[in-house]
C-alpha cells in the first residue's frame, strides 16, 4: 500500500514546483517508507502522511492525490460505484509525435494503473447520494480528451435522472493535444451538459486541485454554482511560464494560486483537505433542501416536488415538515 502511494506521488507531474524542488531540496535520502515534502522539504513518514490527509504535518502542503485516493478519503466507505471505467480513446487523429498517442496511453496505464484522466461514479457523502467526477493528473496531466468529456456528460445525465448533486474534482493541464480539435470540443460538450444541470436545478459544486488550468478551467470547472479550491492550488487559464514569456517579466509572488484567485473573486472558498467532507456535506445539505422545493407557475411558488422519492408533496407546511424530519432523522439538524 505504501509503495503504491509513493508511486502515485512521484509519478505525478507538478509543472510549477518541479524546478524549485530540484534546486532547493537535495535528494533527502529518506527511506522507502518516507518522502520529503514538496514545499518545505521535511521528511514525512508515509503513515503519518496518510493519517494527515496527505498534507505535510509541518507546513500543511497538500500533496497531489490520485483520483482513487481522493475517493477513498471523501465518500462513505464502500459507497463508490464507478461507471465508464472501460471507455478508451480510439485515437481519432492517429496522432504521432516522438511517440504515438496509443503507446503513450498504454505506457501510462502500465506504469500507474490509472486508466483515464477522470474517474466517475455514484456514491454517498454523509449519506447523501451524489455523482462524483475525479480527475487524475497522473494520466497525461489530467488532460481532457473525448473520454473525459463523455464521462462528465454521463455524470450529468445521472445527476439529472436520479436528482443527485454533482461534485467534480479537477486537476488538469487543459485539453489533450493528441485528440486535436476534438479535445477542444469537449469544452463545448461539457458546457452544454452544465447548462442542462442548471435548467434542471441540480446542485453543482467543483473543487479545484493543483493544478487546474486551460480548457478544463475555462469550461466545466468554473461553471459550477459553488467553486471550492485546495490551498495553494495553481488555478489559471494560461500557465505562469507562458505568461512570463509573453509579458517578459517576473510574476508577482503567489500568482495564480488559489489564495490569489479567492482575492480576485474567482472562488467561493479555499478548503483544507481535512475540512472538505464537512464543508461539502453542509453545501449538499443546504442545496438539496433547496431543490426539493420546486418552483412552478402558475401554482404557488414553493410547493414541493421531490423527484427522487417519487412521492409528491404539496403545500409549504408539509414540505417543511418533511424536510425537517429528514434532517432530524439524519441527526444533522442544528449542527
Amino acid at each position: 500500500m505504501e509503495q503504491r502511494i509513493t508511486v502515485e506521488i512521484t509519478k505525478r507531474d507538478k509543472p510549477e514546483l518541479k524546478k524549485e524542488e530540484k534546486q532547493d531540496r537535495a535528494p533527502s535520502g529518506v527511506s522507502s517508507n518516507a518522502i520529503s515534502c514538496t514545499k518545505c522539504g521535511t521528511p514525512i513518514d508515509l503513515k503519518d502522511l496518510e493519517k494527515n490527509w496527505f498534507c505535510c504535518p509541518q507546513c500543511d502542503f497538500h500533496m497531489p492525490l490520485s483520483a482513487r485516493k481522493r475517493i477513498e478519503l471523501l465518500v462513505d466507505p464502500g459507497s463508490f460505484s464507478e461507471f465508464g471505467e472501460k471507455w478508451t480513446s480510439t485515437d481519432p487523429l492517429n496522432f504521432f509525435d516522438l511517440k504515438s498517442y496509443q503507446d503513450r496511453i498504454n505506457d501510462i496505464r502500465a506504469e500507474t494503473g490509472v486508466k483515464e484522466a477522470m474517474i466517475c461514479g455514484r456514491a454517498t457523502i454523509s449519506d447523501h447520494p451524489v455523482v462524483l467526477c475525479f480527475m487524475d493528473f497522473a494520466f497525461m496531466g489530467g488532460s481532457m480528451g473525448c473520454v473525459v468529456g463523455e464521462k462528465f456528460v454521463r455524470a450529468v445525465d445521472i445527476a439529472i435522472e436520479e436528482r443527485r448533486p454533482l461534485i467534480v474534482f479537477t486537476t488538469s493541464g487543459g485539453a489533450r493535444m493528441q485528440e486535436g480539435i476534438l479535445s477542444l470540443m469537449q469544452m463545448a460538450k461539457t458546457t452544454c451538459a452544465v447548462q442542462r444541470l442548471e435548467t434542471e436545478k441540480i446542485p453543482y459544486i467543483s473543487v479545484l486541485a493543483n493544478p487546474t488550468t486551460g480548457g478544463v478551467l475555462a469550461s466545466f470547472a468554473l461553471q459550477a454554482d459553488v467553486i471550492l479550491a485546495e490551498p495553494e492550488a495553481l488555478i489559471c487559464f494560461t500557465g505562469p511560464r507562458v505568461i512570463k514569456q509573453t509579458i517578459g517579466k517576473e510574476l508577482p509572488e503567489g500568482f495564480g494560486k488559489a489564495e490569489f484567485c479567492l482575492s480576485h473573486g474567482q472562488l467561493d472558498m479555499i478548503v483544507s483537505r481535512k475540512e472538505l467532507r464537512k464543508v461539502l456535506t453542509l453545501y449538499i445539505d443546504l442545496l438539496e433542501g433547496a431543490v426539493q422545493c420546486e418552483y412552478e407557475e402558475p401554482e404557488p411558488a414553493f410547493r414541493g416536488l421531490p423527484k427522487r422519492g417519487g412521492k409528491i408533496i404539496r403545500g409549504i407546511r408539509e414540505i417543511k415538515k418533511v424536510a425537517f424530519d429528514a434532517w432530524r432523522s439524519l441527526g444533522r439538524h442544528g449542527s
Binding site: E198, K201, P203, L222, D225, V226, L262, S263, H264, G265, Q266, L267, D268, M269, V279, L282, Y283, D285, L286, L287, G289, A290, V291, C293, E294, Y295, E297, P298, E299, P300, A301, F302, I316, I319, K320, K321, A323, F324, W327, H333, G334, S335
Partner: protein, 297 residues
C-alpha cells in the same frame, strides 16, 4: 407700504418658529436615531445571520474582478428552508472595519450580490437582505469599474427576480448604496435604523452650507422608521429594546425572526407572475400620492 411691513414680520416670525422647532424633540429624535443606527456596538449583518440561521455557508467573489468583504452572503437555513442571505458588513474592530471598508461596497460587492441572487433564483430560494451601509464607496477606482452600473445592475436584478425577497434595514440606510440591496417584496426596518437619500451631514453641507447643521437636516429628511412607514416606503417596524438593538440582541432577533417568517410565508404562496406584479406595483406606486395633477392627464 404696510403690506411689505407685514410680509417682513411674517417672515421673521416664521424664522423664529423654525428656530424654536429646531430645538424641540422631534428633531432631536431624528438625530438620536441616526446616532443609535451608527452606534459602535450596534449588531451587524453577520450577528443577525448567526442568530437567525442555524446554518450558513458563505459564498465569495463576483467571479469577475474581486471579493468585496463589505458585502457578505451565502446559503442559510431558516425555519426548515434554505434561503440566500446577503448584507452589508461594516466590521467590528478597527482592523475588521478597514478590511470591510466600513461597509461601503465597491462595484464587486454589488456584483457578488447579483451573482448570489441569480444562484438563489435558480434554486428557487427566497432572498433575505440586511442593509447597513453609509453608502457605496466614493472612490476613484470604484468609479473606474462602474459604481453606478453596479448599483443599477443590482437594482435591475432585484426587480427581475423570480423568487421572494425581504429586505431588513438594520442600521444605516445610506442612499443608493443601501437601496441596491433594498428593492425587495417586503421591507422591514428596525425601529432605530434610518434610511435616507443622503447622509444628514451631506445634506446639511449642501443646503445649509454647513455640515454642522446635520441635526436640522436629519429632521428635515424624515429618515426615521416612523416616517418611512408613513410614506409606505417600508412595510413593518421591528421593535428594539430601550436603548437600542445592542442592549438585547436576542430580543431583536426574536422580533425579526417572527416578522421574517410571516412575510416569507405570505410571499411563498404567490405565483412568480403575481409576485412580480405586486413588486412592480409596490415600487411604481411610490410617490404617486404626492403628485398634484395626475388625474387631469
Amino acid at each position: 407700504m404696510p403690506g411689505v411691513h407685514l410680509d417682513g414680520m411674517v417672515a421673521k416670525i416664521y424664522k423664529q418658529i423654525r428656530e424654536l422647532l429646531s430645538r424641540t424633540s422631534p428633531q432631536k429624535e431624528a438625530w438620536r436615531t441616526v446616532k443609535l443606527a451608527r452606534h459602535p456596538k450596534r449588531p451587524q449583518t453577520l450577528d443577525y445571520i448567526e442568530k437567525l440561521f442555524p446554518r450558513f455557508n458563505e459564498l465569495k467573489g463576483d467571479r469577475r474582478y474581486g471579493e468585496d468583504p463589505a458585502i457578505v452572503g451565502g446559503f442559510a437555513e431558516f425555519e426548515h428552508r434554505t434561503i440566500m442571505a446577503i448584507g452589508h458588513q461594516k466590521g467590528k474592530d478597527t482592523k475588521d472595519k478597514i478590511f470591510r471598508n466600513f461597509g461601503m461596497p465597491n462595484p464587486e460587492g454589488y456584483r457578488k450580490a447579483v451573482r448570489l441572487m441569480r444562484v438563489a433564483e435558480r434554486y428557487g430560494l427566497p432572498i433575505v437582505t440586511f442593509i447597513d451601509t453609509p453608502g457605496a464607496y466614493p472612490g476613484l477606482e470604484a468609479e473606474e469599474r462602474g459604481q453606478g452600473e453596479a448599483i443599477a445592475y443590482c437594482l435591475g436584478t432585484m426587480a427581475s427576480l423570480n423568487v421572494p425577497t425581504v429586505a431588513v434595514l438594520i442600521g444605516e440606510g445610506g442612499s443608493g448604496g443601501a437601496l441596491a440591496l433594498g428593492l425587495a417584496d417586503r421591507v422591514l426596518m428596525l425601529r432605530n435604523a434610518f434610511y435616507s437619500v443622503i447622509s444628514p451631514e451631506g445634506c446639511a453641507a449642501i443646503l445649509w452650507k454647513d455640515a454642522k447643521q446635520a441635526t436640522l437636516a436629519a429632521e428635515a429628511l424624515k429618515l426615521t422608521s416612523e416616517d418611512l412607514l408613513r410614506f409606505r416606503v417600508i412595510d413593518e417596524i421591528i421593535d428594539e429594546p430601550r436603548g437600542g438593538a445592542h442592549k438585547h440582541l436576542d430580543q431583536v432577533v426574536r422580533n425579526l425572526s417572527g416578522a421574517l417568517s410571516r412575510h416569507l410565508q405570505e410571499l411563498e404562496v404567490l405565483s412568480t407572475a403575481e409576485l412580480k406584479k405586486q413588486r412592480f406595483a409596490k415600487y411604481e406606486n411610490m410617490g404617486r400620492e404626492y403628485i398634484n395633477g395626475l388625474e387631469e392627464s
